[in-house]
C-alpha cells in the first residue's frame, strides 16, 4: 500500500494533467448517470422525491403515448437501416471506382457540402416542402393535376411516412463518408487482381467490396439503430408526435414527461430503459468504432 502511495506521489504531475477531465466528468457525467438511475425508481417533480419502487416501469404499458411510440420507432429504425444500406453504399462504390482523381474529388465534395447546412435548417426546409398549401411537394402535385393532394405531416395516415422521407435521397451524409473511408482502406492490389480476373460491376461488388466493407456495414447498422432509438428532434420540430400519436417516439415521450408534465421520475425510467437497450448495442459496436478511429487517425 505504502509503495503504491509513493508511486502516486511520484507521479503527481501526471494526475494533475488528468484532473480537469475528471472534475468535469464527475460533475457532468457520473453524477447525472447516478441521478438518472436512482430517480427512475422515484416520483420526482425536480424538487420533491418519493421512492416508488418499480411503479414507473409498471405503469408504462398503460401509457398510450409510450405504447404508440414503440411501433413507430421500430418502423423509423427499419426504414433508416434500409436507406443506410442502399443508396449511400451504392454511391460510395460508384464514386470510388470513377476514373480520374479530379472527378472523384468533385463528387466527394459535392456530397459533403449539404452536410454543412445545419440540421435545423434541413428540418425547416422539409417542413416547408410538406406545407399543404404553399409547399414544394403539393405545388408539384397540383401542377401535374392532383386535386386533393395529401396533408403529409397533418394527416395521421401519412405523417410517419413523411418523417421517414426527410432527407431524401439520403446520400449526402455520414454513412457515405464511412463507406468511402472503408473503400480507401482496401488494398489496391485486390482491385487490380479482380480486374485481371475480369471481375467488374456486380461481381466485384459482391465478391470484394461487400465482404471487405463488412466492418463498416456492421458499424453503420448498429449506429443507425442507436441513433434512431433516441432521436426525437425531427418529430419535436415537425409534428410534436401528432396528429394523435401517429409520429410519437420514445424520446419525445421522455421529453414531454420531463419538460411539459414535470414527471421527471417517469422520464428517468424511460431514459433508463432506452439506455439499457442502447448499451447492449454499443457493447457490440465498440470493436468497430476502435478500428474506424485507427483508420482515421492513421
Amino acid at each position: 500500500m505504502d509503495k503504491v502511495w509513493r508511486e502516486i506521489v511520484k507521479n503527481r504531475g501526471i494526475y494533475l494533467f488528468l484532473l480537469p477531465t475528471f472534475i468535469l466528468v464527475s460533475i457532468f457525467s457520473y453524477y447525472p448517470i447516478i441521478s438518472a438511475v436512482f430517480h427512475a425508481f422515484t416520483e420526482w417533480d425536480g424538487v420533491n422525491v418519493r421512492f416508488n419502487g418499480i411503479k414507473n416501469f409498471a405503469s408504462m404499458p398503460k401509457d398510450d403515448a409510450l405504447v404508440a411510440s414503440i411501433p413507430n420507432v421500430i418502423r423509423l429504425a427499419l426504414f433508416a437501416e434500409f436507406v443506410a444500406l442502399t443508396l449511400p453504399l451504392l454511391a460510395a462504390v460508384i464514386i470510388f471506382h470513377l476514373k480520374g482523381e479530379k472527378i472523384r474529388y468533385f463528387f466527394r465534395v459535392l456530397f459533403v457540402v449539404p452536410m454543412l447546412v445545419p440540421y435545423m435548417v434541413i428540418l425547416l426546409i422539409w417542413r416547408f416542402i410538406y406545407d399543404p398549401m404553399d409547399g414544394l411537394l403539393n405545388r408539384l402535385l397540383m401542377l401535374v393535376g392532383f386535386k386533393n393532394p395529401p396533408l403529409w405531416l397533418g394527416d395521421p395516415k401519412t405523417a410517419l411516412l413523411s418523417i421517414m422521407l426527410i432527407g431524401f435521397p439520403w446520400v449526402a451524409g455520414f454513412n457515405l463518408l464511412i463507406y468511402i473511408a472503408g473503400l480507401d482502406n482496401i488494398s489496391p492490389d485486390i482491385f487490380d487482381a479482380a480486374t485481371i480476373d475480369g471481375a467488374t460491376g456486380f461481381r466485384r461488388f459482391f465478391s470484394i467490396e461487400l465482404p471487405l466493407l463488412s466492418g463498416q456495414i456492421k458499424l453503420i447498422v448498429i449506429m443507425t439503430f442507436i441513433t434512431q432509438l433516441q432521436a426525437f428532434q425531427s418529430v419535436l420540430i415537425l409534428t410534436n408526435g401528432g396528429p394523435g400519436f401517429s409520429t410519437m417516439v420514445p424520446g419525445l415521450v421522455l421529453y414531454q414527461n420531463a419538460f411539459h408534465f414535470n414527471r421527471m421520475g417517469y422520464a428517468s425510467a424511460i431514459g433508463l430503459l432506452l439506455a439499457l437497450f442502447i448499451l447492449i448495442l454499443t457493447i457490440f459496436n465498440m470493436k468497430y468504432i476502435s478500428t474506424e478511429v485507427e483508420t482515421i487517425t492513421r
Partner: protein, 274 residues
Amino acid sequence: MSHKLSLSNMGGISFLVIIAIFTYYPFLFLLFTSFKDLSQFYHHFWTPTLPLRWENYYNAWLAIRNYIFNSLIVTSTSVVGVCTVASMSAFAFARYKFPFQEVLFYMLLILIMIPGTLTLVPSFILVRDLGLLNTRWALILPYISGGQIFAIFILRTFFSSLPEELFEAARIDGATIWQSYSLIALPLSRAILGVVAIMNVLNTWNDYIWPSVVISEDSLRTLTVGLAYFQGQYQTQYGPQMAGYVIASIPLLILFFTTMKEFIAGLTSGALKM
C-alpha cells in the same frame, strides 16, 4: 477496354448526377425563394425572379445575427476547452505509466456508451441547481465535459503512435510532463487537433435539444434554437425566412472551404460519436 471503362464511368456519373439534383434542388429553391417578396413567391413559384429582394437578407440578418453571435461564442469556447482538456489527458494516458491508469481510462471509455437520453433530465436539474440556467456556462461546461471523451479516445491513439525517441531524450534530460506535452507533443498534433476541433464544432453548432431546455432567454439563444423560434415569427413570410436559413448555413460553409481536409476527417470521425 478503355471504351468499356469510360462507358461504365458514364453510367456511374449519370446516377450520381441524378442523386445530386435531388439533393441540391431544395437548396436551390431555398436560394431563389430567399430573394422573393410574397407576390413574387405566389406568382412565380417555380422560377427565380427579378428584382432581387435584398431587404429579405437585411431583415433576416437583423433577426438572427444575435443567435449566430451566441453560437460562435459557445462553440469556440467549448472547442478550445475540449482540445485543451482532452489533449492533456490523452497525452498522460498515451505516454506515461502510473497507478490506476487502466481503471481511470476505462472509467472514461465507459462514458462513450452512455446515451444522452439517459442523462438529459438529471443534467437539466443539475444545471438548474448550479444556478446556470440561462447562462452560456449551461452550454459550454457540459459541451466540454461531453466532447472531451471521444476526443481523448482519438488523441490517445495519435499520441501513442508518436515514436518514443522523441520523448526519450527529453525524459533523460529531466523534462516535466508539461514540457514534453507543450514542447514536443502539441506542435506535432496540429492536424489531429484540427480534426477533433471540427468534430466538436459540428456537434455544438447543430445541437438543439439541450440548448432549447437550458436557455429560454432570447438574447442568449443559440442559432438552432433561434431558427426554430424565428420560423414561428415569420410564419408565411417565406422570403425573409429562407434568407435566414441561407445566412445560418454560411459559417460552416466558410469553415469547410478553409479547412477541407481536416473537415472531412472531422466529419467522418464525428459520425462515430453517439
